[in-house]
């Protein structure tokens, strides 16, 4: 059976990888006339082993903290040669490379208004190195560096708001997307590519190894994140919200309970305040974006 995806199989992602689903769908929309840039991370590791690259489009990885700058350079390089075929540059990076170590570089790319679509696959921790907490790790989630022990309930603070950060830069197209809604993801990738100037798409890509659930539940958990209000599906053009996916809110427990990283919240009453804060986060999102 011949597979005609631009992201080829045989890659080394863990079974049930949310990021692998996303990348396949993203490339279906970008088509072959695209250069992809990735920072170090899961995606880089599972797609690029020498002699077994799964990329059917030109792809470049350089380091962990510089994917946006590499993307800017690739675009400048294309433009300096006239870019006769209108090749697009798309960066796809994890939360570590986006929220943390690549933040300065990403801020520079946003500020310069470079015509690049940057997509973050957010699995909410450093999964490639063994599930260490990142600034994308949400409140209450246990990781190896936000351990659950004694009074420590995992990540003690909220995750960084990347959508607000992108909007604060005046990025003309900012959206969130889910692997549980692929048509919407494709539509947003298209808009991000067509938009002149920078575009930013944040996707929640569940990771069964890091979150602690069965591989088959990846898409279901992405769906629950949306339905609880914890991961709102929104879209901004020139700073104005142009769409928000309506939900019939379900309790946050439906999303949290299947995941080992949140188990402690249900085993000890002393963490009730954390659960309350997570519920409030969902309610605030629902109110803020008019989701219900």
């Amino acid at each position: 059976m011949e597979v005609k995806e631009l992201h080829a199989p045989g890659h080394r992602a863990c079974p049930g990888c949310g990021c692998a689903i996303a990348v396949k769908i993203i490339l279906r929309e970008t088509g072959p006339n695209t250069i992809i840039v990735s920072p170090t991370g899961c995606l880089e590791t599972f797609t690029s082993p020498i002699r077994s690259s799964s990329w059917e489009v030109p792809w470049i990885h350089s380091l962990f903290e510089n994917a946006p700058a590499i993307a800017t350079g690739v675009l400048a390089g294309l433009n300096s040669q006239g870019n006769p075929n209108g090749t697009k540059v798309v960066a796809i990076g994890g939360d570590g490379g986006t929220y943390d170590i690549g933040m300065g570089s990403l801020s520079g790319m946003f500020e310069r208004k470079d015509d690049i679509l940057y997509i973050c696959y957010d699995n909410e921790a450093y999964m490639n190195t063994g599930i260490q907490g990142s600034s994308a790790t949400p409140l209450g989630a246990g990781t190896t560096t936000t351990p659950v022990t004694g009074d420590s309930f995992g990540k003690m603070v909220e995750k960084k708001d990347m959508v607000a950060i992108a909007l604060a830069h005046g990025v003309p197209y900012v959206a969130t997307a889910s692997i549980a809604n692929l048509a919407d993801l494709k539509k947003k990738v298209r808009k991000g590519m067509d938009n002149p100037g920078p575009a930013f798409i944040l996707m929640l890509t569940p990771c069964n190894v890091g979150w602690g659930y069965e591989p088959e539940e990846t898409v279901e958990l992405a769906r629950k994140a949306v339905e609880t209000g914890l991961f709102p599906i929104v879209e901004f053009e020139n700073g104005n919200m142009v769409s928000a996916l309506k939900i019939r809110p379900v309790p946050v427990e439906e999303y949290l309970k299947p995941q080992k990283r949140y188990q402690h919240l249900f085993k000890n009453d002393k963490f009730e305040d954390v659960l309350k804060a997570i519920r409030k986060k969902a309610e605030d999102n629902i109110k803020k974006f008019g989701l219900a």
């Binding site: 006339n33 030109p58 380091l63 400048a76 390089g77 040669q81």
Partner: protein, 397 residues
């Protein structure tokens, strides 16, 4: 070819050369004392004198990454930095060399913190000596101009494909004014040619850049850098020779020498200090002292054979260093000593720390170095303690 001679600032001489070589992409982040080059290039681009993509960067790390991406996309790319900026670029330069991206970088040499300083020395580029990038040190503004014109062809040669640093001392070269002969842009452009990449990021032929590798090929990729630097030796010789034929200037290829023929003591140094030594050597020769000079022009590739040949049968060599590997001494001296290992002629090699952190090295200091070297000649052990010129011993009491 006849050029126009004008009094130019060093940074301007560099910018003139870079403009004429027509880089496709320029990305630079400001740092003293490199900023004048950046400002001149920004003005050339905005006024239409240079048709380059000029990208402001948010850090030196990003500037290096931007030219990295541009080079991978097949563009001729240029950047510049100094001191802390070069250290911040370190990780990028390693990957750039190993990915075989021939970016040209002007390194305006400046000391490293702490304490923070803007004084010139060679500690910054020395910290990047193992990256795989080529390093050429220049002694004058004319050489800064010439070396930049030569650099694109050396770096972009299909058998070389390595980043190249043109190293020039901060202030002494970047901010001083000297007569510089500048040639017509068209002539320089023709000499510099255009970048013809052997591979690039191209949807018509998709390739994977920056792949993950293991022990089966990692050492092989480092060894490939050794081979590429060997090829660079030949290329540097041929390009400097051709430059001489076309433009009439020759500043040395891998090294340059001055009055070494019958010398009994040879001074070895890099950068702007070399010009001072030239003058001191002439004065000492006039006094009847048999002194010679070897300028190490390319620190990478390191010109062992040329240095040994130039030193001939001289029994005494004094190496002047502007960088320090703490606990082992001057970095140039260490490499010179290694070069002489196993050589039939075994001169006494006396290492001097001269000019570290911007300490003054004038003709008087050079003559003092010659005197000390001559006295120390007999007593030096195999390791030879570094002699620190101008060190304030009172500081430690």
């Amino acid at each position: 070819m006849k050029g126009k001679t004008a009094i130019l600032e060093g940074s301007r001489a560099v910018a003139e050369a870079v403009r004429a070589c027509r880089p496709d992409v320029i990305s630079v982040y400001p740092i003293t004392p490199q900023t004048h080059i950046l400002e001149d290039l920004a003005r050339f681009v905005s006024s239409g004198q240079l048709k380059s993509q000029f990208v402001r960067a948010d850090s030196e790390f990003s500037a290096a990454s931007i030219v990295y991406g541009a080079s991978a996309a097949g563009a001729r790319a240029y950047t510049a930095s100094a001191s802390q900026g070069l250290l911040l670029m370190n990780e990028v330069i390693y990957a750039m060399a190993s990915t075989r991206l021939p970016v040209v970088l002007t390194a305006v040499n400046r000391a490293i913190s702490a304490p923070i300083t803007i004084q010139p020395d060679h500690q910054d580029t020395m910290s990047l000596r193992d990256t795989g990038a080529l390093q050429i040190h220049v002694e004058s503004l004319q050489e800064a101009y010439d070396a930049h014109v030569q650099s694109f062809r050396i770096a972009e040669d299909p058998e070389v494909l390595l980043p190249i640093f043109i190293c020039m001392d901060g202030w002494v070269l970047s901010h001083s004014y000297e007569p510089v002969t500048v040639f017509p842009d068209e002539a320089i452009s023709e000499f510099a040619g255009t970048f013809q990449p052997v591979q690039k990021l191209d949807p018509a032929k998709p390739l994977t850049y920056g792949s993950y590798a293991d022990q089966d090929v990692l050492m092989e990729y480092r060894y490939a850098l050794m081979l590429a630097q060997e090829k660079a030796r030949e290329k540097i010789r041929s390009v400097t020779k051709e430059y001489k034929e076309v433009f009439g200037h020759f500043d040395g290829d891998l090294i340059d020498t001055h009055r070494t023929e019958d010398a009994e003591i040879i001074l070895v140094a890099m950068g702007s200090m070399v010009s001072t030594i030239r003058a001191a050597v002439d004065e000492l020769r006039a006094e009847g002292r048999k002194v010679g000079l070897v300028k190490v022009r390319t620190f990478r590739p390191f010109p062992e054979e040329e240095i040994i040949k130039a030193c001939g049968k001289a029994p005494l060599i004094a190496v002047l260093d502007k960088s320090l590997s703490v606990n082992t001494g001057g970095i140039l001296a260490t490499e010179i000593k290694a070069a002489f290992y196993g050589n039939p002629v075994q001169p006494v090699i006396v290492p001097f720390m001269a000019g570290l952190g911007g300490k003054e090295v004038n003709r008087r200091v050079i003559k003092e170095i010659v005197d000390i070297a001559c006295r120390a000649g007999d007593k030096q052990g195999p390791r030879g303690d570094t002699i620190w010129m101008g060190l304030d011993h009172g500081f430690f009491s």
